[in-house]
Each structure stands twice: as structure tokens, then as C-alpha cells.
Symmetry: C2
């Protein structure tokens, strides 16, 4: 029998995009990537774990910032190549800029305009120890 | 000056993932892909146009089904490598299976379980002419 995590259509790098939605606000918080291990750890811990392509390692969301994402629901799309997480976002801040969502740029007048406020100074989120 | 569509970080295939959210229900409808031309046409027409990786051509969402997506808002994320569309979904059906959203599979008991109803028989949506 094929395990649930084997039923995804992982891309040539072994990844799928993972969209994360705030269960409270309904906002899309982030688009990140998962490999099979990230998805399995997300399911096992019910906290969002992604694959960081830039760092080339598992990324336990919130491990530095404290802004962890408690997973309410994990969904898969019709062609099994994208994952959706609905989460409770700790601190209400998903973005490294200190904003609720990473999608704070809105296209208007042929420009990407910042339309969402910074809720917390990133310098306070990522304190050097 | 760099044009708005040149400010994205397109991947090695010239694509970015595009997440589409229903402006009415708040549900995530689809995750698809865009190249620069798809994004420009989406902006020009304010109807969702994607890049079909399987067919290798532009995909005007709804061109066969009639289930077009009128774009309310186009957003970009903090690292400029993912697009978010908020749309009005014609017929309330985004998925080729006749469901509201493509994300109709929910992980439960280590299985992907279908949890959303078919709203219209795909055989009626995709009529052979």
C-alpha cells in the first residue's frame, strides 16, 4: 500500500509548494516549499516545517523568531503537487519583515506598493544572543 | 527604471507559483504557475492567465469550462517569488473535478480524504462540441 506521503507528485528536486493560510484571518501568509521529510515532520508535530531552498535544510518555521505555525489542517490539491496548510500563527506574524503576511505588496499603478503595516520591528524579533 | 513585471524572481524555467484565493469564500482555489507573459496578460485583462507546464502554453483559466477568474487584486510576496491573486470565481467552481477548490483532499487517519462536494458534473462542464 502506498503511504499518504508517497502519493504526492514531488518535482524533480523532490519538492512541492506549500501554501499557508491563517485560520483566523483567512489571509495567505506564505508560500514555501516542502520535501517529503518536511511534510512528515509537519504531520508528526502539527507545526509547520518547510524545506529552505536557500539554506538547503529543513526549516522549522519560528525556530528563530518564535513565530511558529500550529497546523489545523493539511490539504492536497487535485493533481497532488501542492499542499495547503491552515494554521494558527503565533504572534500573528508570519513574515520576516514583521508583517502578518508575506504578501504585503499590492500591484497598483504599475508598481508593487506596500499596503500592510509592520506589526513588530524585525530587530526585536530576531534578537542577537 | 525596472518595470513591475521585471521585479519578480522568476525561477530557472522563468516561472513563479501563483496562488489564487476566492474573494468571496476566502478559500484557496488553485496553485498554478505564471511566466512573465501570463502575469502581464493577467494584469492587462484582469482575468487569470497561467502558464500550463503540462501543455507548454498560456492557459486562460476558464477558456474551456467558462469558469474564468476575474482578478480583484494582485499581490507579491516579500522575496518576490510568488504571486497571489484574489479573484471572483465564475460559477464558484475552480477545479476541473467540478469542485469549488482544487484543495478538496484533507489529511486524516494517514489518508487523503475527499471532503468537498462536486458542484457540477465535469462531463457537463467540459462538453464536447
Amino acid at each position: 500500500m502506498t503511504e499518504w506521503f508517497e502519493q504526492l507528485r514531488w518535482n524533480e528536486q523532490g519538492l512541492v509548494p506549500a501554501v499557508t493560510q491563517d485560520a483566523a484571518s483567512g489571509r495567505i501568509l506564505t508560500v514555501a516549499w516542502m520535501n517529503q521529510e518536511a511534510l512528515k515532520q509537519t504531520f508528526a508535530t502539527m507545526q509547520a516545517v518547510y524545506w529552505s531552498r536557500s539554506r538547503g535544510k529543513l526549516w522549522r518555521k519560528g525556530e528563530e523568531s518564535g513565530h511558529v505555525q500550529r497546523v489545523v489542517e493539511i490539504r492536497l490539491d487535485c493533481d497532488a503537487d501542492a499542499v495547503l496548510l491552515r494554521v494558527k500563527q503565533a504572534g500573528g506574524i508570519a513574515c520576516h519583515t514583521g508583517r502578518h503576511s508575506c504578501f504585503y505588496l499590492r500591484l497598483a499603478d504599475r508598481n508593487w506598493q506596500t499596503v500592510d503595516p509592520v506589526l513588530r520591528d524585525p530587530g526585536l524579533i530576531y534578537k542577537k544572543s
